[in-house]
Protein backbone atom coordinates (compact mmCIF):
# COMPACT_ATOMS: atom_id res chain seq x y z
CA UNK A 1 0.00 0.00 0.00
CA UNK A 2 2.76 2.42 1.04
CA UNK A 3 4.74 1.37 -1.96
CA UNK A 4 1.96 1.92 -4.44
CA UNK A 5 1.16 5.30 -2.87
CA UNK A 6 4.69 6.57 -3.36
CA UNK A 7 4.62 5.32 -6.93
CA UNK A 8 1.36 7.04 -7.59
CA UNK A 9 2.68 10.30 -6.15
CA UNK A 10 5.62 10.25 -8.48
CA UNK A 11 3.44 9.20 -11.34
CA UNK A 12 0.91 11.93 -10.67
CA UNK A 13 3.64 14.52 -11.10
CA UNK A 14 4.28 13.03 -14.52
CA UNK A 15 0.59 13.00 -15.14
CA UNK A 16 0.25 16.68 -14.31
CA UNK A 17 2.88 17.34 -16.92
CA UNK A 18 1.04 15.39 -19.58
CA UNK A 19 -2.45 16.50 -18.72
CA UNK A 20 -1.80 19.92 -20.19
CA UNK A 21 -1.01 18.48 -23.58
CA UNK A 22 -3.92 18.49 -26.06
CA UNK A 23 -3.01 14.96 -27.21
CA UNK A 24 -4.50 13.65 -24.00
CA UNK A 25 -7.72 15.58 -24.31
CA UNK A 26 -9.75 12.42 -24.97
CA UNK A 27 -8.62 10.74 -21.73
CA UNK A 28 -10.95 10.56 -18.77
CA UNK A 29 -8.55 12.31 -16.39
CA UNK A 30 -10.82 15.21 -16.15
CA UNK A 31 -14.26 14.41 -14.89
CA UNK A 32 -16.36 13.50 -17.88
CA UNK A 33 -19.13 11.12 -18.79
CA UNK A 34 -22.49 11.34 -17.03
CA UNK A 35 -21.52 10.74 -13.40
CA UNK A 36 -22.79 12.93 -10.55
CA UNK A 37 -19.35 14.53 -10.49
CA UNK A 38 -19.90 16.08 -13.92
CA UNK A 39 -22.80 18.06 -12.50
CA UNK A 40 -21.08 19.00 -9.25
CA UNK A 41 -19.44 22.39 -8.97
CA UNK A 42 -16.47 21.11 -7.00
CA UNK A 43 -15.04 18.03 -5.39
CA UNK A 44 -14.47 17.86 -1.60
CA UNK A 45 -11.23 19.81 -2.16
CA UNK A 46 -9.79 21.83 -5.07
CA UNK A 47 -8.93 19.72 -8.10
CA UNK A 48 -5.18 20.31 -7.72
CA UNK A 49 -5.27 19.04 -4.17
CA UNK A 50 -7.40 16.07 -5.08
CA UNK A 51 -4.99 15.04 -7.83
CA UNK A 52 -2.02 15.09 -5.49
CA UNK A 53 -3.50 14.03 -2.19
CA UNK A 54 -6.64 11.96 -2.71
CA UNK A 55 -4.83 8.80 -1.58
CA UNK A 56 -3.80 10.38 1.73
CA UNK A 57 -7.33 11.60 2.31
CA UNK A 58 -8.77 8.15 1.73
CA UNK A 59 -6.13 6.44 3.82
CA UNK A 60 -6.66 8.78 6.76
CA UNK A 61 -10.37 8.25 6.46
CA UNK A 62 -10.08 4.47 6.40
CA UNK A 63 -8.10 4.47 9.65
CA UNK A 64 -10.50 6.65 11.59
CA UNK A 65 -13.47 4.75 10.23
CA UNK A 66 -12.15 1.30 11.10
CA UNK A 67 -10.62 2.16 14.46
CA UNK A 68 -12.81 5.00 15.74
CA UNK A 69 -16.04 4.30 13.95
CA UNK A 70 -16.30 7.76 12.41
CA UNK A 71 -18.39 7.52 9.28
CA UNK A 72 -19.68 11.06 8.97
CA UNK A 73 -17.23 12.53 6.55
CA UNK A 74 -16.73 13.81 3.04
CA UNK A 75 -13.55 11.85 2.42
CA UNK A 76 -14.83 8.31 2.17
CA UNK A 77 -14.08 6.01 -0.75
CA UNK A 78 -17.79 5.29 -0.75
CA UNK A 79 -18.31 9.00 -1.51
CA UNK A 80 -15.78 8.93 -4.37
CA UNK A 81 -17.55 6.02 -6.01
CA UNK A 82 -20.99 7.45 -5.41
CA UNK A 83 -20.04 10.61 -7.31
CA UNK A 84 -17.63 9.36 -9.96
CA UNK A 85 -19.36 6.26 -11.32
CA UNK A 86 -20.81 6.71 -14.80
CA UNK A 87 -24.02 5.15 -15.99
CA UNK A 88 -24.26 3.11 -19.20
CA UNK A 89 -27.10 3.09 -21.78
CA UNK A 90 -28.99 0.42 -19.88
CA UNK A 91 -29.03 2.65 -16.82
CA UNK A 92 -26.68 0.56 -14.71
CA UNK A 93 -23.50 1.88 -13.16
CA UNK A 94 -20.12 1.22 -14.74
CA UNK A 95 -17.45 0.14 -12.22
CA UNK A 96 -15.03 2.99 -11.49
CA UNK A 97 -12.12 0.64 -12.02
CA UNK A 98 -13.27 -0.51 -15.47
CA UNK A 99 -11.00 0.47 -18.33
CA UNK A 100 -11.26 4.15 -19.23
CA UNK A 101 -13.35 4.98 -16.17
CA UNK A 102 -12.46 7.65 -13.65
CA UNK A 103 -10.22 5.68 -11.28
CA UNK A 104 -8.73 3.32 -13.83
CA UNK A 105 -7.80 5.87 -16.49
CA UNK A 106 -5.20 7.59 -14.29
CA UNK A 107 -4.06 4.59 -12.31
CA UNK A 108 -3.59 2.58 -15.48
CA UNK A 109 -1.57 5.33 -17.09
CA UNK A 110 0.72 5.83 -14.12
CA UNK A 111 0.90 2.08 -13.39
CA UNK A 112 -0.33 2.57 -9.83
CA UNK A 113 -1.46 -0.83 -8.67
CA UNK A 114 -3.95 -0.30 -5.94
CA UNK A 115 -5.91 -2.75 -3.91
CA UNK A 116 -9.05 -0.82 -2.98
CA UNK A 117 -11.40 -2.74 -5.20
CA UNK A 118 -10.62 -6.30 -4.23
CA UNK A 119 -12.77 -5.52 -1.17
CA UNK A 120 -14.63 -2.27 -1.84
CA UNK A 121 -17.62 -1.92 -4.12
CA UNK A 122 -16.94 -0.27 -7.48
CA UNK A 123 -20.46 0.93 -8.10
CA UNK A 124 -22.75 3.02 -5.88
CA UNK A 125 -25.10 1.09 -3.68
Amino acid sequence: MQYSCSISKLALLLLLFFVALPVNADKNWRVNGNSKATKAEACVAPVEEMRRNHMEMIQHQRDITVHQGIRKTDNSLHGCIDCHANVDEQGSHIPVNAEGQFCASCHGFVAAKLDCFSCHATVPK
Binding site: M1, I64, V66, H67, Q68, G69, I70, F117, S118, C119
Partner: protein
Protein backbone atom coordinates in the same frame (compact mmCIF):
# COMPACT_ATOMS: atom_id res chain seq x y z
CA UNK B 1 -6.78 2.22 29.26
CA UNK B 2 -5.45 0.81 32.49
CA UNK B 3 -7.03 -2.30 33.85
CA UNK B 4 -6.63 -0.91 37.33
CA UNK B 5 -9.15 1.85 36.80
CA UNK B 6 -10.63 3.17 39.99
CA UNK B 7 -14.26 2.42 39.25
CA UNK B 8 -15.66 4.29 42.24
CA UNK B 9 -13.86 7.43 41.14
CA UNK B 10 -14.99 6.98 37.57
CA UNK B 11 -18.60 6.50 38.57
CA UNK B 12 -18.47 9.63 40.70
CA UNK B 13 -16.90 11.70 37.94
CA UNK B 14 -19.31 10.45 35.30
CA UNK B 15 -22.24 11.76 37.32
CA UNK B 16 -20.82 15.27 37.70
CA UNK B 17 -21.51 16.70 34.21
CA UNK B 18 -25.03 15.26 34.20
CA UNK B 19 -25.80 16.84 37.56
CA UNK B 20 -24.37 20.17 36.43
CA UNK B 21 -26.34 20.09 33.19
CA UNK B 22 -29.58 19.33 34.96
CA UNK B 23 -28.99 22.19 37.38
CA UNK B 24 -28.36 24.65 34.54
CA UNK B 25 -31.70 24.04 32.88
CA UNK B 26 -34.89 25.47 34.29
CA UNK B 27 -36.43 23.37 37.08
CA UNK B 28 -38.57 20.56 35.73
CA UNK B 29 -37.13 20.77 32.22
CA UNK B 30 -34.71 17.97 31.51
CA UNK B 31 -33.19 17.64 28.09
CA UNK B 32 -33.07 14.12 26.75
CA UNK B 33 -30.07 13.08 24.78
CA UNK B 34 -30.97 10.83 21.90
CA UNK B 35 -28.84 7.71 21.95
CA UNK B 36 -30.01 6.07 18.78
CA UNK B 37 -29.73 8.94 16.35
CA UNK B 38 -29.86 7.93 12.72
CA UNK B 39 -26.91 10.13 11.72
CA UNK B 40 -23.55 8.50 11.00
CA UNK B 41 -21.07 8.72 13.84
CA UNK B 42 -18.89 11.82 13.87
CA UNK B 43 -17.09 11.34 17.22
CA UNK B 44 -14.68 8.49 18.04
CA UNK B 45 -16.12 5.54 19.91
CA UNK B 46 -15.36 5.52 23.63
CA UNK B 47 -15.17 2.90 26.35
CA UNK B 48 -18.27 4.39 28.01
CA UNK B 49 -20.17 1.91 25.89
CA UNK B 50 -19.45 -1.79 25.85
CA UNK B 51 -21.48 -3.66 23.31
CA UNK B 52 -22.51 -7.12 24.36
CA UNK B 53 -25.10 -9.80 23.98
CA UNK B 54 -27.11 -12.29 25.96
CA UNK B 55 -28.13 -15.48 24.18
CA UNK B 56 -30.92 -17.49 25.74
CA UNK B 57 -30.32 -21.07 24.63
CA UNK B 58 -33.70 -22.13 26.01
CA UNK B 59 -35.39 -19.93 23.40
CA UNK B 60 -33.05 -20.94 20.58
CA UNK B 61 -35.19 -23.27 18.47
CA UNK B 62 -33.98 -26.56 17.06
CA UNK B 63 -33.61 -26.43 13.30
CA UNK B 64 -33.91 -22.65 13.10
CA UNK B 65 -31.11 -20.85 11.28
CA UNK B 66 -32.68 -17.40 10.96
CA UNK B 67 -29.77 -15.66 12.71
CA UNK B 68 -27.15 -17.35 10.57
CA UNK B 69 -28.99 -16.50 7.37
CA UNK B 70 -29.55 -12.90 8.47
CA UNK B 71 -25.86 -12.57 9.31
CA UNK B 72 -24.85 -13.94 5.92
CA UNK B 73 -27.22 -11.58 4.15
CA UNK B 74 -26.24 -8.52 6.18
CA UNK B 75 -22.54 -8.99 5.57
CA UNK B 76 -22.67 -10.28 2.02
CA UNK B 77 -21.53 -13.82 2.83
CA UNK B 78 -24.48 -15.26 0.92
CA UNK B 79 -23.53 -13.56 -2.34
CA UNK B 80 -19.99 -14.90 -2.11
CA UNK B 81 -19.96 -17.81 -4.54
CA UNK B 82 -17.22 -20.15 -5.62
CA UNK B 83 -15.69 -18.63 -8.78
CA UNK B 84 -16.36 -20.76 -11.86
CA UNK B 85 -13.50 -23.11 -12.55
CA UNK B 86 -11.60 -22.10 -9.43
CA UNK B 87 -12.29 -25.31 -7.62
CA UNK B 88 -13.76 -28.37 -9.24
CA UNK B 89 -14.19 -30.17 -5.94
CA UNK B 90 -17.18 -28.40 -4.42
CA UNK B 91 -16.71 -29.97 -0.98
CA UNK B 92 -13.59 -27.87 -0.58
CA UNK B 93 -15.62 -24.71 -1.12
CA UNK B 94 -18.19 -25.82 1.42
CA UNK B 95 -15.51 -26.53 3.98
CA UNK B 96 -13.67 -23.26 3.44
CA UNK B 97 -16.70 -21.01 3.06
CA UNK B 98 -16.54 -18.02 5.43
CA UNK B 99 -18.89 -18.40 8.37
CA UNK B 100 -19.38 -15.66 10.95
CA UNK B 101 -22.16 -17.24 12.90
CA UNK B 102 -22.69 -20.95 13.43
CA UNK B 103 -25.65 -22.78 14.80
CA UNK B 104 -24.35 -25.29 17.33
CA UNK B 105 -26.27 -28.22 18.72
CA UNK B 106 -25.13 -29.83 21.97
CA UNK B 107 -26.37 -33.13 23.34
CA UNK B 108 -25.89 -34.18 26.93
CA UNK B 109 -25.05 -37.87 26.61
CA UNK B 110 -26.39 -38.72 30.06
CA UNK B 111 -29.69 -36.91 30.03
CA UNK B 112 -30.13 -36.63 26.26
CA UNK B 113 -30.96 -32.95 26.59
CA UNK B 114 -30.46 -31.04 23.36
CA UNK B 115 -29.23 -27.47 23.53
CA UNK B 116 -29.06 -25.15 20.52
CA UNK B 117 -27.06 -21.95 20.47
CA UNK B 118 -25.48 -19.56 18.01
CA UNK B 119 -21.69 -19.30 18.21
CA UNK B 120 -19.75 -16.37 16.83
CA UNK B 121 -17.01 -13.95 17.84
CA UNK B 122 -17.45 -13.45 21.58
CA UNK B 123 -15.89 -9.96 21.52
CA UNK B 124 -13.52 -10.60 24.41
CA UNK B 125 -12.19 -7.86 26.63
CA UNK B 126 -8.78 -9.51 26.32
CA UNK B 127 -8.91 -11.02 22.84
CA UNK B 128 -6.28 -13.70 22.10
CA UNK B 129 -6.61 -12.86 18.40
CA UNK B 130 -5.28 -9.39 19.15
CA UNK B 131 -2.40 -10.82 21.21
CA UNK B 132 -1.09 -12.99 18.41
CA UNK B 133 -1.65 -10.65 15.47
CA UNK B 134 1.74 -9.71 14.01
CA UNK B 135 0.53 -6.58 12.22
CA UNK B 136 -1.96 -5.08 14.64
CA UNK B 137 -4.80 -5.78 12.23
CA UNK B 138 -6.75 -7.67 14.85
CA UNK B 139 -7.88 -5.17 17.43
CA UNK B 140 -10.51 -4.30 19.98
CA UNK B 141 -12.35 -1.06 19.47
CA UNK B 142 -12.90 1.18 22.47
CA UNK B 143 -16.57 0.22 22.58
CA UNK B 144 -15.74 -3.47 22.90
CA UNK B 145 -16.14 -4.62 19.31
CA UNK B 146 -13.33 -6.91 18.19
CA UNK B 147 -12.52 -6.33 14.53
CA UNK B 148 -10.04 -7.09 11.79
CA UNK B 149 -8.54 -4.09 10.03
CA UNK B 150 -8.43 -5.67 6.60
CA UNK B 151 -6.11 -2.94 5.36
CA UNK B 152 -3.34 -4.28 7.57
CA UNK B 153 -4.32 -7.97 7.71
CA UNK B 154 -1.77 -10.11 5.87
CA UNK B 155 -3.84 -13.27 6.08
CA UNK B 156 -1.45 -15.24 8.29
CA UNK B 157 -4.36 -16.78 10.22
CA UNK B 158 -2.62 -16.83 13.59
CA UNK B 159 -5.79 -15.34 15.05
CA UNK B 160 -7.84 -18.25 13.74
CA UNK B 161 -5.55 -20.60 15.64
CA UNK B 162 -5.63 -18.45 18.78
CA UNK B 163 -9.40 -18.02 18.98
CA UNK B 164 -10.85 -20.48 21.51
CA UNK B 165 -14.29 -20.09 19.92
CA UNK B 166 -13.29 -20.94 16.34
CA UNK B 167 -15.03 -17.74 15.39
CA UNK B 168 -12.89 -16.57 12.50
CA UNK B 169 -12.87 -17.39 8.80
CA UNK B 170 -10.42 -16.81 6.02
CA UNK B 171 -11.51 -15.66 2.58
CA UNK B 172 -9.96 -18.12 0.15
CA UNK B 173 -11.48 -16.91 -3.08
CA UNK B 174 -12.08 -13.64 -4.85
CA UNK B 175 -15.25 -11.80 -3.89
CA UNK B 176 -17.24 -10.82 -6.97
CA UNK B 177 -19.98 -8.73 -5.45
CA UNK B 178 -18.81 -6.44 -2.67
CA UNK B 179 -21.33 -5.03 -0.22
CA UNK B 180 -20.83 -1.29 0.30
CA UNK B 181 -21.36 -1.42 4.05
CA UNK B 182 -19.26 -4.48 4.79
CA UNK B 183 -16.30 -4.53 2.39
CA UNK B 184 -14.51 -7.86 2.22
CA UNK B 185 -12.03 -9.56 -0.07
CA UNK B 186 -9.69 -12.45 -0.65
CA UNK B 187 -6.72 -12.96 1.65
CA UNK B 188 -8.10 -11.54 4.89
CA UNK B 189 -9.47 -13.06 8.05
CA UNK B 190 -12.92 -11.96 9.16
CA UNK B 191 -15.47 -12.58 11.87
CA UNK B 192 -18.63 -11.20 13.46
CA UNK B 193 -18.46 -7.41 13.81
CA UNK B 194 -21.57 -6.97 15.97
CA UNK B 195 -22.92 -5.32 12.78
CA UNK B 196 -20.56 -2.43 13.39
CA UNK B 197 -21.80 -0.56 10.32
CA UNK B 198 -25.23 -0.46 11.95
CA UNK B 199 -23.85 0.75 15.28
CA UNK B 200 -21.85 3.51 13.59
CA UNK B 201 -24.94 4.66 11.75
CA UNK B 202 -26.98 5.04 14.91
CA UNK B 203 -28.78 1.70 14.96
CA UNK B 204 -28.63 -0.35 18.14
CA UNK B 205 -29.59 -3.81 16.91
CA UNK B 206 -27.75 -6.55 15.09
CA UNK B 207 -29.06 -8.46 12.09
CA UNK B 208 -29.14 -11.76 14.02
CA UNK B 209 -31.10 -10.20 16.86
CA UNK B 210 -33.67 -8.73 14.47
CA UNK B 211 -34.02 -12.05 12.62
CA UNK B 212 -34.45 -14.00 15.85
CA UNK B 213 -37.12 -11.60 17.07
CA UNK B 214 -38.88 -11.77 13.71
CA UNK B 215 -39.09 -15.54 14.08
CA UNK B 216 -40.68 -14.95 17.46
CA UNK B 217 -37.90 -16.57 19.50
CA UNK B 218 -36.26 -13.49 21.03
CA UNK B 219 -33.25 -15.58 22.05
CA UNK B 220 -30.73 -12.79 21.37
CA UNK B 221 -30.60 -9.56 23.32
CA UNK B 222 -28.00 -7.05 22.20
CA UNK B 223 -27.03 -3.78 23.81
CA UNK B 224 -24.72 -1.74 25.99
CA UNK B 225 -23.43 -3.77 28.93
CA UNK B 226 -22.27 -0.59 30.67
CA UNK B 227 -25.71 0.99 30.67
CA UNK B 228 -27.64 -0.40 33.66
CA UNK B 229 -30.91 0.65 31.98
CA UNK B 230 -30.27 -1.30 28.78
CA UNK B 231 -32.32 -4.37 28.02
CA UNK B 232 -29.27 -6.59 27.95
CA UNK B 233 -27.90 -5.34 31.27
CA UNK B 234 -31.27 -5.89 32.94
CA UNK B 235 -31.53 -9.39 31.48
CA UNK B 236 -28.02 -10.25 32.63
CA UNK B 237 -28.95 -9.19 36.12
CA UNK B 238 -32.17 -11.16 36.05
CA UNK B 239 -31.13 -14.51 34.54
CA UNK B 240 -28.29 -16.77 35.62
CA UNK B 241 -25.82 -16.68 32.78
CA UNK B 242 -22.29 -17.58 31.87
CA UNK B 243 -19.57 -16.81 29.41
CA UNK B 244 -18.30 -19.79 27.44
CA UNK B 245 -14.81 -20.84 28.51
CA UNK B 246 -14.86 -18.30 31.32
CA UNK B 247 -11.89 -20.19 32.77
CA UNK B 248 -9.75 -18.41 30.18
CA UNK B 249 -10.62 -15.08 31.81
CA UNK B 250 -11.08 -13.32 28.48
CA UNK B 251 -14.30 -11.64 29.63
CA UNK B 252 -16.30 -12.11 26.42
CA UNK B 253 -19.04 -9.62 25.60
CA UNK B 254 -21.37 -12.47 24.69
CA UNK B 255 -23.11 -14.22 27.56
CA UNK B 256 -25.26 -17.33 27.43
CA UNK B 257 -28.10 -18.50 29.58
CA UNK B 258 -29.73 -21.92 29.59
CA UNK B 259 -26.61 -23.91 28.76
Amino acid sequence: MSDKTNLARRNFLSKLPAAAATAAIAPGAVLHSKDASSAPRSEPVTSKVRWGMLVDANKCADGCSACVEACNKENGLDIHTNPAGADVDSTKWDQQKPVWMRSVKLKDLQSGKITNLPMMCQHCEHPPCQDVCPTGASFRRADGVVLVDRHTCIGCRYCMMACPYKARSFIHENVDIKPTLAPRGKGCVESCTFCVHRLDNGQTTTACQDACAKEGHHAIIFGDLNDPESQVAKALEKYPNQQIRDDLKLNPGVHYTGI
